[in-house]
């Protein structure tokens, strides 16, 4: 029996032998919450592994830029009553990586931060990160609302859009962000339709004729058989 057969038996035995792992296993849930459910692999080919290692070994942002990104991260997504901030979720590290991985981000981010420092120096005679939080917010208010921004701030608006995008995407793809969002999937389950409470909230109902054709989840583990006309008999 080769490796493939072994793995297959293992998985078919544990996952698919008619009984699906419960979606509410305490162990799995604990791991999910802490973000420790990764085995460090995500199906890379050798070439892709080498690429990841190479990118991880590179540096792009200098210290001042790293500090600026961190300040912007927590201005954009500070901690809430129930969830940590963008810095808590490791977003600066993500932005540092993605700028090396998708190099088209490099110039707009670097140039944008310089633009921000230039504006901060003009208004408050110091670099953005040295300004008080009030001063920082005053500056952001000129570039954070595209519809209200003056034409002179257009470059800043563009930069802030990019930074906000990266902060949000970095946050909501982290364990902390996924928990904050409340996404419930990526776990074995038996989909059996929209919950009734949701249906009634939306004033919708399944048509009986349609529903009659759908899978009876009680019979999912019974091997399908058809009659000569193609009607499922079980």
């Amino acid at each position: 029996m080769d490796r493939r057969d072994t793995i297959k038996t293992m998985l078919v035995g544990s996952l698919a032998g008619g009984i699906i792992l419960s979606a509410c296993q305490p162990d799995a849930d604990e791991k999910k919450k802490s973000g420790e459910d990764s085995d460090g692999q995500y199906g890379r080919t050798e070439k892709e592994k080498a690429h990841d290692l190479k990118v991880m070994g590179e540096t792009f942002f200098n210290e001042h830029e790293v500090a600026t990104i961190a300040v912007l991260c927590d201005l954009i997504l500070p901690a809430s009553a129930s969830a940590g901030s963008a810095v808590d979720a490791g977003v600066p590290e993500f932005i540092s990586f993605i700028a090396r991985d998708i190099q088209s981000h490099q110039l707009p981010l670097r140039g944008g931060m310089m633009w921000l420092d230039h504006e901060a120096t003009k208004r408050f005679s110091q670099a953005f990160i040295l300004c008080s939080v009030d001063q920082q917010k005053q500056l952001l208010d000129t570039i954070a609302y595209p519809e209200d921004a003056s034409p002179e701030s257009a470059q800043g608006v563009k930069f802030f859009n990019l930074m906000r995008n990266l902060v949000l995407t970095g946050y909501y793809t982290s364990r902390m962000g996924i928990d904050d969002l409340g996404y419930q999937g990526n776990t074995p389950n038996t989909w059996d339709g929209v919950p009734d409470t949701v249906l009634s909230k939306h004033g919708l109902a399944y048509e009986q004729e349609w529903l009659a054709k759908c899978i009876d989840q009680e019979k999912r583990a019974v091997i399908a058989e058809w009659d000569a006309e193609g009607n499922l008999v079980n």
Binding site: V12, G17, S38, T173, E207, C214, L232
Partner: protein
């Protein structure tokens, strides 16, 4: 792993391990034949922890699943893409074609959408209906028994609908629609567009003891570790091996050409091993090409000999001609009624639970062929790109766009699951002047001449795309949606994606009864060499408004049965 310097003479050499190659491997090995499967990419098993991407979280990828490495993102299982380093292709200036290749065991079946549609009676005889393109030399009745067998072997969910050109099959029951899909059903009904349960090859119910049942993670594009969806490796090649088939798998092996003898018959293939960049030969009594429509055409064109000076199978000059891909266009909308949703797990199967097959009569329209609709939306797992333009949708509800701080968290939750979309996938008429050929100057990193593409759309496809957008708007509007983006105009080909983008390219070795106008006969056998067959999308005469995989599988099975019969009769 087979010995590279094999002196063995195989009964059949199969080039490629996707839908067609996988099916040929299964059927021919079960007949007791000795098989070599030559695959350009590595071994792949979605259950192997080292290769698995299913059930991974976005943060397990440092780029959070972004598409900088794989074109459909880090977790998509397809190795390859529209561009592969070291393996270029070219285009005739002024024309477009993007060629998606996936070099791995199972090929592109590892990540496809699993939309599994039979061609209908009209799809094989469209010239007789509208005078365009050509009829197939076979009809629905020739293929029906094989569609039936494919349904039972592989499993496909769907429902009996008795529609004239959307034949029913042996279906597993479909999953219930999701919330946004109920909105689609309601909205479409209002504007007279029918919607039926999707037809896709995931196991909502057990079909045998070797494969698992769908556990609704919605990640079929990542490959299924319990083999509950179709891919050629997990559903055809692995079972054939397990059943004791005499199958030698040559992976990382790029076929250069089919070798022929003085009588012009094939005697085997030569291939380059990616492991050591050396060239090797394999001997076989029959060669079955299943490398994908364009790759098989390329191999044939590169197989030049005294007997086949224009390339093998190309005495008609038709190899590479009649290349056609499905048309494609899409539109999205924001549905205010779907704001502030209750959050629950609605991953479902990977892709749509409902769809719309072509429902109109082209005789009453200004374009000749149909399209089907695919609907999407839902509260999916975040990955790179989630949260971009976080609250742009505020402009539709009179609230402020942009900002920073706590309000962004509220906006993310407010809009989660409120954007839906429709994609149209239609039929393009096969034309002789859409083709791939050998580039006279360029070779790939293995020294093999590469393909040069020449493909243009006509008014048929443009007007079809225009109609698609009208349909999208009618449905999305009837759902109470705020349609996003501008309607593409004539200058943008009405939103038609570049040919090749839908990854349904077929037609390059089309079948026919006339050897001067076709490459293979009705059994996918070369007119010019009776021991060479093509079982990928190449032999398609026309593409239909359907996804091609189910027809590739049915025809490959039919051809394999024919090969067995011909061997028995000692005809080849």
């Amino acid at each position: 792993m087979a010995n590279k310097n094999s002196t063995k003479v195989y009964d059949v050499i199969i080039v490629g391990s996707g839908a067609g190659g996988g099916m040929a491997t299964k059927v021919l090995s079960e007949a007791g034949l000795q098989i070599a499967v030559v695959e350009a990419g590595p071994y792949f098993d979605p259950a192997d922890p080292a290769q698995r991407t299913q059930m991974k979280w976005p943060y397990e990828s440092p780029r959070r699943g972004a598409s900088s490495q794989r074109p459909f993102g880090d977790f998509d299982s397809a190795y390859g893409g529209w561009e592969i380093e070291g393996e270029p292709y070219t285009r005739v200036p002024g024309t477009k074609f993007d060629w998606f290749r996936s070099h791995m065991l199972g090929g592109r079946t590892n990540h496809w959408g699993r939309i599994s549609l039979r061609f209908g009676p009209n799809d094989f005889k469209h010239k007789s209906i509208d005078g365009l393109g050509d009829d197939w030399p076979i009809g629905y009745d020739d293929v029906k028994p094989y569609y039936d067998k494919v349904d039972k072997l592989i499993g496909v969910f769907g429902t009996k609908e008795n529609l004239p050109n959307e034949p029913d099959g042996y279906f597993l029951p479909p999953p219930k629609p999701r919330l946004h899909e109920l909105y689609f059903i309601k909205g479409s009904k209002k504007v007279g567009v029918p919607v039926i349960p999707a037809r896709m090859s995931m196991l909502t119910k057990k079909i045998n003891n070797d494969r698992g049942v769908c556990f609704y993670c919605g990640q079929c594009s990542r490959g299924c570790s319990v083999y509950a969806d179709f891919s050629a490796g997990t559903c055809l090649i692995f079972p054939a091996q397990k059943a004791g088939g005499q199958i030698d798998l040559y992976v990382n092996s790029v076929v250069r050409e089919v070798v022929t003898n003085d009588e012009g018959k094939a005697t085997g293939v030569t291939y380059i091993s990616k492991d050591d960049r050396q060239e090797y030969a394999l001997k076989g009594k029959i060669v079955v090409l299943a490398a994908s429509a364009c790759s098989s055409a390329r191999i044939l064109l590169n197989s030049k000999s005294k007997q086949h000076p224009n390339g093998l199978g190309n005495s008609s000059g038709m190899v590479g001609k009649y290349l056609h891909d499905s048309t494609g266009a899409s539109r999205a909308a924001f549905i205010p009624a779907l704001m502030n949703r209750d959050i629950y797990n609605e991953d479902g199967v990977g892709g749509m639970h409902i769809y719309t097959p072509w429902w109109l009569d082209n005789r009453k329209l200004d374009f000749p062929r149909g399209y089907h609709l695919e609907m999407w939306g839902g509260m999916g797992m975040p990955s790179y790109g989630f949260g971009f333009n976080v609250n742009d949708l505020n402009k539709h509800i009179g609230e402020k766009v942009g900002g920073y701080g706590d309000r962004l968290r509220a906006d993310v939750k407010k809009f989660y699951g409120s954007v839906v979309g429709i994609s149209g996938r239609g039929e393009c008429i096969a034309r002789e002047n859409n083709y791939c050929e050998l580039d006279p100057e360029v070779v790939d990193e293995f020294g093999v001449p590469v393909l040069r593409f020449n493909y243009t759309w006509t008014e048929h496809e443009r007007l079809q795309a225009k109609h698609m957008h009208n349909t999208f708007e009618e449905i999305l509007d009837a759902m109470g949606g705020k349609i996003l983006g501008d309607k593409p105009g004539k200058e943008d080909d009405f939103g038609l994606l570049a040919p090749g983008r839908i990854i349904h390219e077929v037609g390059t070795t089309r079948m026919g009864n006339d050897p001067n106008k076709s490459v293979t006969n009705a059994y996918e056998q070369l007119h010019d060499a009776d021991n060479v067959f093509v079982v990928d999308g190449g032999p398609f005469v026309s593409q239909a408004d359907k996804n091609p995989t189910w027809t590739i599988l049915a025809l490959a099975w039919r051809t394999s049965d024919y090969i067995i019969e011909q061997l028995r009769k000692r005809n080849i």
